[in-house]
Amino acid sequence: MTSNDVRDILELHSKPLNSTDNPTPSKKANKSEKEKKPDGIPRELFQLIGGPPPIAFVKPAFKAKPNLRKKAVHWEWQSFTNQGRGEDDQLTLHHWVKCTPTSESEDSGYWFAEYNKKIDILKYDDEEYEKYLTDKDWTKEETDYLFKLCDKYELRFIVIHDRYEYKERSMEDLKDRYYSVCKKLLQVRPPEGSDKGALIAMNTYDKAKEEKRKKHMCALYLRSPEEIKEEEALLEEYERIEQNEKKFAKERENLLKLLSFQELAQPKRKKSLLSGPTTPTMEVGNSNFHTSTEVPKKNRRTSASSVGSAVIEAEVHNAPITARKEKFPQGVVVRSSKIPLPKQTMILKVQKTLQEFGLGIDMINYICGPRPSIPTETVCARWVDLQKAIQTLLDVKKAVEKADHELKAKKALLQKIKQNGLGSASKSANSGDAGGKQSDVTASVSGDGGGGDESSVVPTKRERITLTTTPRDAKRARK
């Protein structure tokens, strides 16, 4: 009997466990009990001043007094039998039972008996054994013994193997035998109402595979510290290589993207040059066209025709793709605010380059970077292109510098190796290996150029290209 039960008998509701039947007073009593009263303050006063101010006004409540007048809950020392035990076994034990009207009426047997679960092990008879289950390695007697243990230990094969005394057998032998017998039995007499295939699959056991797995596990268990260290080092190395590879692949992709962007951008730019200058007024009309849905249909048509079909056509054919895709937010916006910012890390450099062209000086805005002074649609488009071109230029420049640097380092290394000649065989083999690996890496960095030496030439060409285009853009933008 726990103290809880005693409390229960005496009707002392001071544990929250029992608070359901008598909720409010006991809870409050608990609470006020927790706040410790400092010495020297009368209880009544402390009730008024103590603790945090109440959220709502609560009538001061003191610990509930035990109700001594009420009759105590009746507990009875009752005998019970457990139907979970064998049928003819009449072990009668006693326990304390709380006598509530409900518990007396229910006579469903011992509460815990339902937990007496046993798993069902398949059974076979002599005839079945002779017909299907014979095995040159197993006698019927031993199979019976195995099945008895399986039943006793509920298929805990680790325990079964531990207690197996018939003959020296590995756990895999036991499992293999058990599952093959079950599989066979399921095949010859499938139980009704269940999925035979699934059952058979559940009873399939691949002994060879298990043995192999166990062998590997054992090897893993018995590793020496050196082996573990080596393994860890190898794993680290592997991770490093993988990461490097990823890094290089990414860099290369970036470069390719940059370059292909350049190629794509060139013809587009030519096209956009052809398109006539679009005026801010048209833009307003355009945005109206998009936003004002309440304009009557007829009216809209007329307004469209008033702008002129030629203009619309020009817009359809010649306007830069960016302009077409442009989405207009509702209300008035400053077009220049739609110019995308260069990358955070590049912002200053881009700005500097622009200043070299004498652009955006008057409008330097340290928050959103330089802006064109007359941000018409075309100018803005050009400005964006220019910004992108500058960024590309800077990226390429950086890549070239890096490749150059690496090339130099590799060359120095090569020199060193050559000088060392065939010093110590193992060492040179090692470093040669490393060199090979690294030269691969350089190739992938300068993938666009092909060879190391060429790579330094190609980007300069591109630089020139970008440089030749940029001033022209710049003029446009300034206008």
């Binding site: 979970g84 035990r85 076994d89 072990l91 326990h95 815990f112 230990y153 680790i158």
Partner: protein
Amino acid sequence: MATFGGDEVSALVLDVGSCWTRAGYAGEDTPKAVFPTSYGYIAEAETAAPNIDEDTIMKNVDSDAPKVQDWDALEKIWDHALDKRLQVDPTEHPLFVTEAAWNTREIREKLTEIAFEKYRVLAFYVAKNPVLSAFATGRPTAVVLDCGHSTTSCVPVVDGYVLKKGIYKQPVAGDFLSEQIMQQFQKLNINVEPHYLIAKKTVVEADQPAVVVYRDRPNTTESYHKYMQMRVIHEFKESVCQVFESTYNELVIAARPMKTFEFPDGFNTSFGVQRFDVPEILFNPPKFIMQPDRPSFDTKSMLGVHQMIYNSVSACDIDVRPLLLNNIILTGGTTLLPGFADRVNYELSMMLHGMKIKLHAPGNTIERKCSSWLGGSILASLGTFHQLWISRKEYEDQGAMIVEKKCE
């Protein structure tokens, strides 16, 4: 009540260890009675003496030793527990007793017989110590290192079943340590005079000979004197000795603070390296055991406790090893030596690289000393357990052999 699966039927739980016997009611968290597993008797009468005193012959009941079974003595202990301490009528209660994991069938059957024939208990059950220790910490699967008084054992438990092939045990535990300390004292010329001989002592400076007035006890038996001496030594062991946390290193240990111990006669001295030496036996027996006076004691084959755990785990299937290593339970009084758990952890991690090792050593002293009683108390108060009792009827139908069938 049903919510936590408990249903108390006022079962009695009895755990007779080689040093202490614990008895109490199932469902409680500490045994009602804990008393030494020893009794005295008067030579001529060969009956148990009402009081243990100087002219009784002390007898220690070793319930675990498989051969030297002194059933009369065990019955006396049961008598004392049930009659004098718990003061119950055993016919009204189910009785739950603990046993060593390696107990033979004969011992188990004899236990059952005594319970039903002599005590006429309502129902009976006997369960293995390590399983109960594992239950006491709430684990069905664990490897239990029990370093108690007479035996140190390491037993793997899977799903509540002892794996017999993984049982390792050896007679190096608390009692052996105390004996070794006794030898150490003899070497140091320290004479251990038990309390009963001291009439009056005076405070003396450290390392000065005792100034003491002795009582005159001419009829004291030798066994009683030894018993009282061992008490002093146990006290010394429990308050002074310590296990070094990593590999034994005399230089580092010498730098550790000394500890002073005052013997019953007032003589007091400080111990430095010595207080680490004796517990070191548990980890490196061949090197640290001083030749014991016990015959047939093969020092060479003794293992360190960490080695026992390792062997025990390695004897199990590879699939459960990680689980076992994650649930290493330390129990028994001797594991309370300061630094014991740290050392086991250190040694195991040196042996098992790259495996996750987790030790569970209850911080509560009572839990550590009485873990098997506690496990029994928990088990015997579970509603689902009551179908496992051996009932009187079952015993009458099938005889004592039923214990092998029902108590796994």
